[in-house]
Every structure is written in structure tokens, then in C-alpha cells.
């Protein structure tokens, strides 16, 4: 046995952050899938809009602008507490990580509240016409992600509070941040499509 070359890897780290670890790639693939799906919803939106004589289809009114704009701003701002959380987790700083999670959940609930308000300003039902259908599905899919992510962040925060302070959980927290950023970034084209494009006439 001693005659063969051996590489001793026991000194290697047993947890790593970011693309060095497995979980990051898993989350990244998942986000690729979800982006593709939302992308196809958006393409469908433009396809249907292209076929219509007017958009929104008469007699539907334009959607309100205030609520979604406020929602977008809050969503963009939410990146800050998440960045804070991610940094804290990377430092393996338990107390700061917990603080970060609490802040994120709080702002997450705020975003969900804004979302409910947005729905009320759409002035169209999903079964009114195809404009309504495609608008609802895009917001619906995104909201579903938003809801899941806030839940996930809550569970993570609780686990930290319960003292599951293993390095793995900190890695999970940073990968969770990736999901959060995705939700923020992907909403920008959705916002432009749903609320600005119809105003272009």
C-alpha cells in the first residue's frame, strides 16, 4: 500500500460557502429553472399583447401604479438586511445572523402586505379576459415564491434561535440569501412588463 501515491485530503475544510459547496449549485440550478419559467410567462404576455388590438383588452382599465411602485421599492430595500444577514452568516456570527433574519422576515411581511394591496389595484379578474389571466399568473407565480421564501427565512431564523448553530446552517443561510436576491431581481422585469409597458400604449 505504501507503494502507491496517496493524496491526503483530511486537511481540507469541511464546510465552504458559495460555489465551492454543493448547496449553492443546487440553489443556482433551481433558480435557473424558476427564471426560465417566469421568463416564459413574460414571453407569453408579450405574445398575447402582440395579438391584441388594444392592451389591456377593453374594457379593462390600466392597473394602478402606486401600490406596485411602493412594493418594488420595499422589495429593493429588502436587499440590504439580506446582505447584512449573509455577511453575518459568513462570519459565523450567530447573534448578528439572528438579527438579520428577524429584520428580513419583518420586511418580507411588509412586502406581502404591499402585494395584497397591489392585487386590489389590478382592476381585472383572472377570468375576465386573457389580459387578466396572464397578469394574475405572473404575479401569482412570483407571489408564491415570495411567500415560500419568507417562510423559509422564518424557519431558518427559528432554527438559529433554537441553537442549531452548526456551520451547515450558516451555509444554508447564505444560499437562502441567493434565493432572496433572485426574487428581488426577477421582479424588476415583471414590474416593468405589468405596470409600465401597458402605459406605453
Amino acid at each position: 500500500m505504501s507503494t502507491r501515491d496517496q493524496i491526503d485530503v483530511s486537511v481540507l475544510p469541511r464546510f465552504t460557502f458559495g460555489p465551492r459547496g454543493l448547496m449553492w449549485w443546487g440553489v443556482a440550478s433551481f433558480l435557473a429553472i424558476e427564471s426560465t419559467m417566469l421568463g416564459i410567462c413574460l414571453v407569453s404576455y408579450y405574445y398575447l399583447r402582440d395579438r391584441a388590438f388594444e392592451w389591456p383588452l377593453a374594457p379593462t382599465m390600466l392597473p394602478d401604479l402606486l401600490a406596485p411602485t411602493v412594493g418594488l421599492l420595499v422589495l429593493l430595500i429588502s436587499v440590504l438586511p439580506m446582505l447584512y444577514t449573509e455577511r453575518a452568516a459568513k462570519r459565523l456570527d450567530t447573534a448578528a445572523t439572528i438579527r438579520g433574519h428577524v429584520a428580513c422576515v419583518a420586511i418580507g411581511l411588509l412586502i406581502i402586505a404591499a402585494r395584497v394591496w397591489e392585487f386590489r389595484g389590478l382592476h381585472v379578474g383572472w377570468d375576465t379576459n386573457v389580459y387578466g389571466s396572464v397578469v394574475w399568473i405572473i404575479i401569482g407565480v412570483h407571489s408564491y415564491h415570495l411567500f415560500t421564501e419568507v417562510m423559509e427565512t422564518t424557519v431558518l431564523g427559528l432554527l438559529f434561535m433554537l441553537g442549531h448553530t452548526h456551520p451547515k446552517l450558516f451555509v444554508d443561510a447564505t444560499d437562502n440569501a441567493l434565493y432572496w436576491y433572485f426574487i428581488v431581481i426577477i421582479w424588476v422585469p415583471c414590474y416593468v412588463t405589468l405596470f409600465l409597458v401597458p402605459r406605453l400604449g
Binding site: M1, G21, T36, P167
Partner: protein, 660 residues
């Protein structure tokens, strides 16, 4: 589904040094699944999962084949009376759906799940619990579909479910709903499997297996997985739209309210064209793996083959409109898709020519797997050439939706994918079971399949030219189609007998086949350097790869990795250029993936009936996922210490990297 009873030879690694024997003991304890039914259900060993996945997919293949057989009986004569229109429509839809969604895609993923970790030289698949989940959700989907079918609620609008025929107005009842839910089952299963395979290939390759040493099958599975990741969401969206149209009254495909039936076709084919390459590309991987063993040389043109695969992926996403030429696509657009479709013949041609060159310059042994490869070449090229004809718009407008197309796609699907799959089954049979498959029966099966296949599907080209549309449950005697149809039916019986012989062969060989040993075909990839069947931990020592053909070059003196814990389910992570990078503990077997799959399955079936399935499913799925991801108990010595117990030094990651 257990491998052959051990004892009489295959299996246990030839005992080497005492040191190695105790290492084997310890690894065995760490990696084996728990005994009993619970252990079986909870297993997250990729080999267990791969095996049951393959067997299940083959069962669906037999079911789909039996349905095809019924169709052939009905069509053998004009004015056939075996099946009525309602049943016939369910049967051809079930046949297409089964073959595409429950057989062809899953079986390819399944072989990947079994082989990829072995081929890249690691102890387990990335995300083993997800792998277990992807099997269970697939199984539940298939069982749900067939349960509905036996209750006479089988889908009946064709495997591509064109709207508005499949919409709420023209397909009332639940038949179409179960189809769209089946799409959810399969897509989740395939997407999970793809993520596992991508990450396994990226992060778990043995040290030294750099980009240019990755086996061609692994390349094939990798590009396939990427296609799944970018194609599946499309059908997911299409079927989401369809479900909401049917269930809550949205109007995506309803022309009266501004929707468009053609939206369905675009979104569906944007998935379903890549899908045919999702089925075909892994098959090319089988071919490239089988060839070296039987031509006694590495495959000719490794780089060209890899680049062809990648080109296929990219071009493959730009072809979908060739299924829609008859819808009245503007001429300019149609011309673009003609050009793109013809272009895909180039990477396929490169592959075919490289394989022929390998045979030409090798020293050929005509064992059963190799026969299937040769059969593949003859059949796939024919099917590919008829595909090129269909790429031409004016020509396609004539042959579209006729038996000419049916002939084309069976040539590429059976000739191009099922023949290599059978070659693969024979090739890896000794690895999986530890016993050799019967050679005589194998050759007999091949001969029957080859002859039967051509008898069945060649006449269909002629039928198409003679104007026979597909999806007709009957035809009139004066059409003159009777002769070819009868021939096709006779051929189908021969073909089915050929399959049957292989099944019998497998059954017999598992019990009585000669012991296989590590590398019975003298093949070139890593899985052949470990015992057959591979132990739960795959490799006694994680290998260090120093060539593209480790199966041929590795000896007992070849370099290995040490320092990966054997008392924990620990695997070595490598960087993109296959340098050792870090260690990671993988999760234990768990029953939760199956529970989560059950929760998801219940949700999907409920979603045929009520939109409340979404909140119910969220809760059920949430419970399953929490159980799944719950952190392990406190005192687990495999886990790195809690952060409070770490020194500042330990907290700073970036321990020295090991260089080769």
C-alpha cells in the same frame, strides 16, 4: 429488485490487505442502508434508486408497448372492430404519454443516476435525498395515470394535447386534468434528477478528472440535464395555463377572450422538441461507452463528439416551429426554422462518422451490446434522414401528421434511443447484477428486434405517402392501406417477441449467469474498477484519475485519495478543474423524501378537482420538507463542531488546498 444472491462468486471485493478489509468493513457499515422494508423505502443510495427507477420505467415501457400492440391489432384490417374511437383515442394518447414521459425520459435519467457517480469516481450522488424523492414522485405519477386510465378517465387528446380540443369546452371531465398533473409529476422528477446530475458532475468528480477526461456518457448526461433545466419549465408553464383554464376559468387558450390556441403549441414544442434530444443524447452516451470495449480503442474524436453534443443542445432550442409548419407560420419565419432544423444534421453526422471511424480502426468484437450499437447506426441514420426531409416546409406540409412522421419518430426513438438502451442494459448488466447476460439469447433478441422493427415501421413511410393520417382509429377498405398495416402488425408481434426474449434473458441471467468480475468486457471507465455489483460505498479508495481511460490504465499501484472519513457519509468535493477542494457530509437515508413525494402526489391528484389543492399542498409539502431538512441530533461526531466551540482559526475557512 435486489441483486443476485451473493456467495457464489461476484460481489465482495477480492480481499486484499488486512487494512483494506477493515476499511471495507467500516465503509460498509457507514454506507449500507438499514435492513428491512423501512430501510428499503428510505434508501438514498443512488444505485438502489437507479435500479428501481430503471425497472419501473421498463414496466411502463411494457405497458406502453402493450397499448401499442392493441392499436396494431385494431389497425391490422380496415374497419377494425377491436377498439372503438373513444378507447382508441385514450390508448394512443396513453401510449405516447407513457413512452415519452414515463419511459424514455425517466429511463435515461435513471441510468444517469446509477452510473454517473460511479463514472466520476465518487461515493454517492449529490443530494441523495432528492434522488430518492425523484424516484417516488415518478412512481406515484405513473401509478396515478394508470389508475385513472383503468377507471376510463385516461387522457384522450394526443400526447401533445392541442388546445382547444383539450380545453374546458371540448374536453369536459377529468381526462385532460390527469394528463396535466402527470406532467407535473414527471417534470419535478426529471428536474430533480437533472440537478443531481449537474451538481454531481460539477462538484464530485474524482481528483484529476478534468474537463477533457470526463467520460462521454457523463458529458451526455450533463448536457441533457441542462436541456431539462431550460426546457421543462416551458411545459410546466404550458400545463399550468391549461390547468387554470380548465379549473378556474382563465383564458390563455380561449380565442373568444383574446387567448390563442397557438400559444399552447409554441410553449409546448419549445419543450417537446428539446425533449426528443433529451431522449436521444443520453443514448449517444451509451453508444460512446459501449464502443471502446468492443473496438479495443478509445472512441475516435472525443473533442468533436463533446462539441457535437453541445451544439445539439444549442441548435435544439431553435427548432420547435418545425412541428407547426401547417399552422400558417409566415414564410420568413418558417424558412429560418427549416435552416436551423437542417443544421442539426451536422452534429449528428459528426457523431455518426466518428463512431464508424472507431469501428473501422478498431478490433471489433460482435458481442450483444455491440450488435445493438450497429443496429442503432442503421436505424438512426434512416430516421434522421427522414427528419431532414420533414425540415423542408413544402414537403412537411404533405407528410405532417401522417404515418410518415410516425415512421420517422419511431426510427429515431426506437432505433436511436431504445436500441442503444438495450445495448446499455446488456453492457451494464454484469456491473449491476454481478452476472453475465446470456449471449445467445441476447443475439436472438437483437435479431428479432431488428427484423421486427423494420417490418413494423418501414411500411409506415409508404402509408404516409399514400395519405394515411395518424391518429385514426379506422380506415376504409378502398384506401388500399390494408397491406402495409397488416405487415406492420406482424412486425410488431416480432418486435415484441424480441423484447420478451431480453426480459426472459435478464430473468434467467440474474439467477444463473456466469459471475462477472470487476471488468468482464474490459471497458475503459471508472465503474469497471470496482466490484460487480458495486458496494454501497462505490469505491474502497477514492481514485485519482490520470487518464481518459482509467478502466484500462489503473492498476493496484495507481494513486488514490486518503483522508476521506470512512465512519461518516463523507464525500470529496473538487473544483471545476478537478482539484480536491473540500469535504462534505451527505445526509443519511430518510423516509421523508417518500413522504414528501406522497404529499406532492396527493396535491397533484387533488388539483384535478379543486384549486384548493394549492394551499393544501403547500401545507402538506411544507411538513414533508421540514421533516426532510430537519437538522440532525446534537451529538453527531460527523458534523463539524458548533460555531461556539470553534477557534477563530477554525472559523476562518480556507485551510490549505491540496495540490496534485
Amino acid at each position: 429488485m435486489r441483486p443476485a444472491p451473493r456467495g457464489s462468486g461476484p460481489s465482495e471485493p477480492a480481499a486484499r490487505t488486512a487494512e483494506e478489509a477493515s476499511l471495507h468493513q467500516e465503509l460498509q457499515e457507514t454506507w449500507s442502508r438499514d435492513p428491512g422494508l423501512r430501510g428499503w423505502l428510505a434508501s438514498n443510495d443512488h444505485k438502489d434508486i437507479g435500479r428501481r427507477f430503471i425497472v419501473t420505467a421498463l414496466i411502463f415501457f411494457v405497458l406502453g408497448g402493450l397499448l401499442a400492440f392493441l392499436m396494431r391489432l385494431q389497425l391490422a384490417h380496415p374497419n377494425g372492430t377491436v377498439l372503438g374511437p373513444d378507447l382508441y383515442n385514450q390508448i394512443f394518447t396513453m401510449h405516447g404519454t407513457t413512452m415519452m414521459f414515463l419511459f424514455a425520459i425517466p429511463v435515461m435519467e435513471a441510468v444517469g443516476i446509477y452510473l454517473v457517480p460511479l463514472m466520476v469516481g465518487t461515493r454517492a450522488i449529490a443530494f441523495p435525498r432528492l434522488a430518492s424523492f425523484s424516484y417516488w414522485i415518478f412512481l406515484f405519477g405513473g401509478v396515478a395515470l394508470y389508475t385513472f386510465f383503468f377507471l376510463n378517465i385516461g387522457p384522450d387528446a394526443g400526447w401533445f394535447m392541442y388546445t382547444p380540443l383539450s380545453g374546458p369546452e371540448f374536453s369536459p371531465g377529468k381526462r385532460v386534468d390527469i394528463w396535466s398533473q402527470l406532467i407535473n409529476f414527471t417534470e419535478i422528477s426529471a428536474l430533480s434528477a437533472s440537478i443531481e446530475l449537474i451538481v454531481t458532475t460539477f462538484k464530485l468528480r474524482a481528483p484529476g478528472m478534468s474537463i477533457n477526461r470526463i467520460p462521454l456518457l457523463v458529458w451526455a448526461m450533463l448536457v441533457t440535464s441542462f436541456m431539462v433545466v431550460f426546457a421543462m419549465p416551458s411545459v410546466m408553464t404550458a400545463s399550468l395555463f391549461l390547468t387554470t383554464d380548465r379549473l378556474v376559468g382563465t383564458h390563455f387558450y380561449n380565442a373568444a377572450e383574446g387567448g390563442d390556441p397557438l400559444l399552447w403549441q409554441h410553449v409546448f414544442w419549445f419543450f417537446a422538441h428539446p425533449e426528443v434530444y433529451i431522449i436521444f443524447v443520453p443514448a449517444t452516451g451509451f453508444v460512446s461507452s459501449i464502443l471502446p470495449a468492443f473496438t479495443r480503442r478509445p472512441v475516435f474524436g472525443y473533442t468533436a463528439l463533446v462539441l457535437s453534443l453541445i451544439a445539439t443542445v444549442f441548435i435544439g432550442f431553435g427548432l420547435w416551429v418545425h412541428h407547426m409548419f401547417a399552422t400558417g407560420i409566415p414564410q420568413l419565419g418558417a424558412s429560418f426554422f427549416t435552416a436551423a432544423t437542417m443544421m442539426i444534421a451536422i452534429p449528428s453526422g459528426i457523431q455518426v462518422f466518428c463512431w464508424i471511424a472507431s469501428i473501422w480502426s478498431g478490433n471489433l468484437r460482435l458481442r450483444t451490446p455491440m450488435l445493438f450499437v450497429l443496429g442503432f447506426l442503421f436505424l438512426f441514420v434512416l430516421g434522421g434522414l427522414s427528419g431532414v426531409m420533414q425540415a423542408s416546409v413544402p414537403l412537411d406540409l404533405q407528410v405532417h401528421d401522417t404515418y410518415f412522421v410516425v415512421a420517422h419518430f419511431h426510427y429515431v426513438l426506437i432505433g436511436g434511443a431504445v436500441f442503444p438502451l438495450f445495448g446499455a442494459l446488456y453492457f451494464w448488466f454484469p456491473k449491476v447484477t454481478g452476472r453475465m447476460p446470456g449471449e445467445k439469447m441476447g443475439k436472438l433478441s437483437f435479431a428479432l428486434m431488428f427484423v421486427g422493427f423494420n417490418l413494423t415501421f418501414f411500411p409506415m413511410h409508404v402509408l404516409g405517402l399514400e395519405g394515411m393520417p395518424r391518429r385514426v382509429y379506422t380506415y376504409l377498405p378502398e384506401t388500399g392501406w390494408a397491406g402495409e398495416n397488416l405487415l406492420a402488425t406482424i412486425g410488431a408481434i416480432t418486435l415484441a417477441t424480441g423484447f420478451l426474449v431480453t426480459l426472459v434473458n435478464a430473468w434467467w441471467s440474474i439467477r444463473h449467469g456466469a459471475p462477472a468480475g470487476e471488468n468482464p468486457w474490459d471497458a475503459d471507465t471508472l465503474e469497471w474498477t470496482t466490484p460487480s455489483p458495486p458496494p454501497a460505498y462505490n469505491f474502497l479508495h477514492v481514485p485519482v484519475v490520470d487518464s481518459r481511460e482509467p478502466g484500462w490504465t489503473r492498476t493496484s499501484a495507481s494513486p488514490i485519495v486518503t483522508g476521506v472519513r470512512s465512519d461518516c457519509r463523507e464525500v470529496l468535493l473538487t473544483s471545476l478543474d478537478a482539484e480536491p477542494d473540500s469535504l462534505m457530509e451527505l445526509p443519511n437515508p430518510s423516509i421523508w423524501p417518500m413522504v414528501t413525494a406522497m404529499a406532492a402526489g396527493t396535491t397533484f391528484v387533488l388539483a384535478c378537482f379543486t384549486p384548493w389543492a394549492v394551499p393544501i399542498g403547500t401545507v402538506l409539502g411544507g411538513i414533508g420538507l421540514i421533516g426532510w431538512a430537519w437538522p440532525k441530533s446534537e451529538d453527531d461526531e460527523c458534523e463539524p463542531p458548533r460555531v461556539e466551540d470553534m477557534s477563530e482559526q477554525e472559523k476562518k475557512e480556507g485551510a490549505p488546498r491540496v495540490r496534485l
